[in-house]
Symmetry: C2
Subunit: 444 residues, 2 copies
């Protein structure tokens, strides 16, 4: 890997710290289309579902035990749990849980998971401030815009170097959103962005450990604290983002300032947010999608299936070629298990990647009937699936873009199914339905 | 500025995360010479003095107001104040105050200010754990060793790129020290280092703002929380420091692993710690030192002085050439004011850089008699000073190494004078004397 090219520091960068601060504070409430606002509600609902879904898993339990050593004041909720902690630590914990299943939202241009840092900080702070739903939604859209635009300016160089871009841009999105909610002045918001800029979070080396979901959580906490400090008069460099020794030039050799400034307030990155329909790496989504569609179209039962033939892109085998996964987590790296789960259950949520399902003899039997071959004519976003049944029939489907992609976004109904699948098991069907309604109607 | 050279990722780096974790946990209590231990006490005392000295200044007040919005539990002390906050935020606030005057300790090989992150985290945690003085001193030496050795491995490339190395290495020193104090296992300590590694703090762009002293404070808090999380079973990459996408390779193109591993436990970086005798940039210390020495040797009074002639390195004029400073802070960037203060007061502490002193007509009158010329024969560490008196005498001194340098360390008596000068004004003479004795005798 080549880590860096030689570049000169850019001493003439536009004043993006100031530009973003003014944008965040001065942009009118709901100063965007209904479509952008609808996407923001979908983002909030999906974040809520993911956070509640993982709220009793080990990274959350361990982090919460550590936070409890601080005897925090009961200021804000932890989603899916009864404990309350101070707003900074609520942001931390909810940020961790929302990313624990790797099932949250994705801004595909940058692979940023934007809601984790921004929504986690906002929802905690809104409890203290008793903010209106509309204020929260405004701050959510504006905060995500800051994260994703900064992400656009540095991706892919920054990511290639080893940073987990969700955390490193999330500090800014969270600081921006909390500044808006706190009704800071533009000058204070500039300071909040500057204070956050000195505390980037996230290394890709942590993938596969609990510290991966820590990244959005720590980014949420850092951004929230930066806004609180700016409100109290704490200062930072007014050019903390763009100066030669400011954040962006320090963490990336690509610094495309236009990505931050052009069309600001007109084009909305948050409108491009997507949601994972399946609780695994995006590379096997087309294969699962095809299996689920064939199952539903032909009412396929596992015992009818003779063979499953996949033609896939080489990355599918490279990243998810595990033939005999033993544990739930390993199942996420097995296209064979994932397709078997899709054919049997008609979905591939967190439950389908539990130890119990991965070790289920019926799932293993079908998994062993899945064959995958690399086909150079199949793109990364596609998969070609043929299911042969014992009565000699062949069912075929070509998936060009999986469900959940920008080209085939999940419907609200599909999003709700995903939500209920995660949330009902934790807080019950009725409460889950209420939580869905609340998120989708927040501030309307 | 050239930001980076092209290098390949090093996939064969030694397991420094594991090596440091084992070192921190398994090294015997006071497993070093008396000289190393004495230096650690001087480090603790100097940190205490700086933290108390700045404890009512604006960065501390602003940060504390923000922390108070969280309604923290009264677990630990804020030095020099009556408020108590939770241990994580006590680490934050004490770390901020200890660096607010830029008057703290310096590991000259890396320009790391090692005590800020490490001592601030430790002292807060020790209140909760009721640790012994010896346990704290052991953890202080070991934590500083981790910070400074990682610093040696990446300096100067990492610093040149724009990182404030005090914060970026301080997270690791604080995590290591707190792990030791918590009596974590080596494996847990490895996780603590890994958790901290994802949260580096500090950009040089912030110099001159309150966010500069935030860096050691945030590093202290981050390192402390990382250790608490590791204690509770939170996981991170076992190679979070050395992996190709781990901290060290991500934040520096220079990765000299030998600086971490060679002589570990035999040679002590903490023994190389130094302390600033004057509350300003190190480049004018030789000039002030000379003025103070001439004043004391010849009992010089301001009204006797006709002229002060300095021969200095070009950096002195470049960095501190401000002829007519108006405010206290500007005085720190004026060799003219600094020499006048040295001649009048016999010192140049924080008081001598107050607005009142900088605006004092008597100081201004002497300042205007100071002339400085660049002399290529004078090194960065040196200064040549001649004072002409009205009775026609010339007093001359050549300073080759200023007081406070490795070559001419401050005596304990000089350190105590600096300490009392900062602390007595805040907590009174008697309490200040007790605080000095306590720090110098901690754990003995």
């Amino acid at each position: 890997m080549t880590k860096n090219t030689i570049v000169k520091a850019d001493v003439n960068a536009p004043a993006v710290t100031e530009i973003l601060a003014h944008f965040v504070i001065n942009h009118p409430s709901k100063g965007w289309s209904d479509a952008v606002d609808e996407q923001a509600h979908r983002t909030l609902a999906n974040w809520t579902g993911c956070a509640i879904g993982a709220s009793h898993h080990e990274p959350v339990e361990a982090a919460l035990r550590a936070v409890m050593m601080l005897e925090p004041a009961p200021q804000a909720s932890i989603l899916g749990r009864t404990e309350r902690v101070d707003i900074a630590n609520a942001a931390l914990i909810n940020g961790i849980s929302s990313h624990t299943f790797d099932y949250d939202d994705t801004h595909l241009k940058t692979i940023i998971h934007p809601a984790g840092p921004v929504a986690s900080a906002l929802m905690a702070l809104s409890e203290l401030l008793n903010s209106s739903g509309r204020e929260v939604m405004d701050a959510l859209v504006l905060g995500i815009e800051v994260s994703c635009r900064v992400g656009n300016s540095i991706y892919p160089d920054h990511y290639d170097r080893g940073w987990h871009i969700t955390g490193t841009t999330g500090i800014l999105g969270a600081a921006a959103a909390c500044s808006r909610l706190l009704k800071l002045s533009a000058e204070q918001t500039q300071m909040a962005l500057g204070i956050a800029a000195s505390q980037p979070v996230g290394l890709r080396e942590q993938f596969g450990t609990m510290t991966k979901p820590l990244h959005p959580g720590a980014a949420a906490k850092t951004g929230l604290m930066a806004a609180l400090m700016a409100k109290q008069g704490f200062t930072a460099s007014a050019r903390a983002l763009e100066a030669p020794r400011g954040l962006i030039q320090v963490i990336s050799d690509k610094c495309d300032w236009k990505e931050i400034t052009e069309g600001l307030g007109l084009n909305w990155e948050s409108a491009l947010n997507t949601y994972k329909p399946f609780a695994c790496g995006i590379v096997i989504h087309p294969s699962i999608d095809g299996c689920v569609q064939l199952r539903n179209q032909h009412n396929l039962k596992p015992e009818q299936i003779e063979e499953v033939r996949l033609k896939v892109h080489s990355l599918v085998i490279e990243l998810t070629g595990k033939k005999t996964p033993k544990k739930g987590l390993e199942g996420k790296f097995s296209v064979y298990h994932s397709c078997a789960a899709g054919l049997i259950y008609g979905k591939a949520g967190e439950h389908e990647y539990s130890d119990a399902v991965v070790q289920d003899p019926a799932v293993i039997a079908l998994r062993d009937k899945v064959q995958a071959v690399i086909d150079d004519s199949i793109g990364e976003a596609a998969a070609d699936i043929t299911v042969l049944t014992k009565d000699g029939k062949q069912h075929h489907i070509l998936i060009e873009h999986a469900i959940g992609s920008l080209e085939r976004p999940m419907s609200n109904e599909q999003l709700k199914t995903k939500f209920m699948d995660q949330v009902a098991a934790v807080i019950g069907q009725g409460a889950a339905d209420q939580a869905w309604q609340r998120a989708m109607n927040f501030g309307r």
